[in-house]
């Protein structure tokens, strides 16, 4: 309940209505000590502006890059981040958890 995504979803709607391409990334599963719980979300527009978070800042960069592709293609995709990833040291979670993030286009 401390988690207030109010502004994030409002921004998603406002940006979409203003004609921007918009994607929404949502944490759908977590294992181990993940920094944000399931349901946490990040909204991204086609200018690369984003609001919210899906981790403690460790993987947002990678999510934004993927979101750009999703805005282009319109096809949702599932991303997974964690220490088991070969990219762990680049965009993994330093806390040792694993998260799955669903990225979808808005509109």
């Amino acid at each position: 309940m401390l988690d207030r995504d109010e502004d994030i979803l409002k921004a998603a709607e406002d940006w979409q209505k203003a004609g921007r391409g918009v994607a929404l990334a949502t944490v759908v599963e977590t294992w181990g000590s993940a920094p944000r719980p399931a349901g946490s979300s990040l909204v991204i527009n086609d200018e690369g502006t984003f609001l919210g978070s899906v981790s403690g800042g460790c993987v947002e960069g990678a999510v934004v890059t993927e979101a750009m592709d999703v805005i282009q293609s319109g096809k949702p995709r599932m991303l997974e981040f964690g220490v088991a990833d070969e990219t762990a040291w680049n965009v993994g979670l330093s806390c040792g958890g694993t998260i799955r993030v669903f990225v979808e286009k808005v509109g």
């Binding site: 309940m1 979803l9 409002k10 998603a12 949502t26 759908v28 599963e29 599932m78 509109g107």
Partner: protein
């Protein structure tokens, strides 16, 4: 997410009505389920559970991987009575994620010195309460010990269907309160909703300990399934 769904989701959230967004994470298909429609939904058991916990989760149903994203309004706590217990209760409730407001017409009690950083309304309940939008996601406690303040506040809480209503006072005090409220038109079922003596029986002595027992009781009412809730009470 379709714009129509996003628009509806934002409207429901603005109105402080709980909803769950169900997403098939393979196909991307989505639907929004309002709390009033849970009982007709094939996923009702899962929806009920996740809403009660206030937690989003992935589930498997009918061979599909579904993500249930729970949008529950932020719970509020309205404390009527800017007394010593409230000074401990307000920060404790805030740390548990509640939006807290303290109401007391007695300005000597409702002073910013006594309640730093807590929204205070130094008005009588009839004036103070309507703008607070007390609702089903509000826990309501009346702790002034003064019937002139507590009674009208409790009548307001009945009307707004608060998920928790508690009032300070012994069983004897509470019996008298019941008589007064009945005389003012309260239903028996409303009076039965009041948790009094307030708080879980943990032998609390100090104001801070009483605050813990109150928040423990509120948490139990919010989170426990109906059957276990009865056993805890």
């Amino acid at each position: 997410m379709k714009l129509a769904i996003l628009h509806e989701l934002n409207a429901e959230r603005a109105a402080r009505r709980p909803v769950i967004l169900v997403t098939d994470t393979e196909s991307g298909e989505q639907r929004l389920v309002k709390a009033e429609d849970f009982s007709k939904d094939p996923l009702r058991a899962e929806l009920d559970k996740q809403l009660r916990m206030g937690k989003s989760a992935s589930v498997e149903a009918g061979g599909k991987k579904l993500f249930l994203n729970v949008y529950a309004p932020t719970a509020k706590l309205v404390i009527v009575g800017a007394v010593h217990i409230s000074q401990a209760l307000a920060p404790l409730a805030r740390s548990l994620g509640y939006d807290v407001t303290v109401v007391d017409p007695r300005t000597a009690f409702a002073s910013p010195e006594r309640f730093p950083d807590v929204p205070l309304v130094a008005e009588w309940p009839d004036t103070a309460l309507p703008p607070l939008n007390v609702d089903a996601y509000t826990a309501f406690v009346a702790v002034t010990h003064d019937p002139k303040i507590d009674d009208p506040a409790l009548l307001h809480a009945f009307e707004r269907n608060c998920f928790y209503i508690g009032a300070l006072g012994s069983r004897k005090t509470h019996a008298k309160r019941g008589d007064r409220l009945r005389a003012q038109g309260a239903k028996e079922s409303d009076i039965a909703r009041i948790h009094a003596p307030i708080g879980l029986a943990i032998g609390a002595v100090s104001p801070s300990e009483i605050a813990v027992s109150i928040m423990a009781e509120i948490t139990a009412v919010l989170r426990l399934p109906p059957k276990e809730k009865e056993e805890a009470a």
